[in-house]
Symmetry: C2
Subunit: 110 residues, 2 copies
């Protein structure tokens, strides 16, 4: 049973979600990312630390730069949590279907 907490905690912040979207396009170092936001570089570095701890971002040191790369496996795991509700979705649809069918039957019998 996986611990969803670090991932969902990461996704709760709009800046962190934006960073993930940026990293979808290409790997970036902290400075590159910070340039896209109004906040200071240390603030962005903190967000990246949280993303890294949740294993959503992998950090690779290259000389004096640190390349941040998106790791999708944790996002996929988080989707499992959503899929848990799929059954409910089906159940709701089936219930609706049942209601409609019952209604049709009712109408016929009148």
């Amino acid at each position: 049973m996986m611990d969803y907490q670090p991932v969902f905690r990461s996704l709760a912040d709009p800046t962190r979600r934006a960073i993930l979207c940026m990293l979808k396009e290409q790997d970036l170092c902290i400075g590159d990312i910070a340039d896209h936001f109004q906040m200071t570089r240390p603030a962005v570095a903190k967000h990246l630390k949280i993303l890294n701890e949740a294993d959503l971002v992998i950090i690779e040191t290259q000389g004096r730069e640190r390349i941040n790369r998106l790791n999708l496996t944790q996002l996929m795991s988080a989707m499992d949590w959503f899929n848990y509700f799929d059954q409910f979705w089906d159940k709701q649809l089936n219930h609706l279907k049942q209601v409609v069918e019952d209604k049709v039957l009712e109408d016929k019998e009148q």
Copy 2:
């Protein structure tokens, strides 16, 4: 363009995720839900307020009780955010495929 913030903020707390899972099984009033946790009822009520504001839970007053019902539409919208990364997933797989194919070609030419 939808605002994902209320939903992702809601999902960041383990108690709230647990409440959503409980409501998947059946509609429940605040007291029922609070019985399943160690925290006080007002604390649970606060979580339900946040879930309601994110439209993840619909509250229906019946006499002195307030029935909490799961609303899946917002969860489905949140899944759209995840789906945005599917392309990246494909891209990664395609890249891997390309690398392997190139490797095979290389080997052939030797």
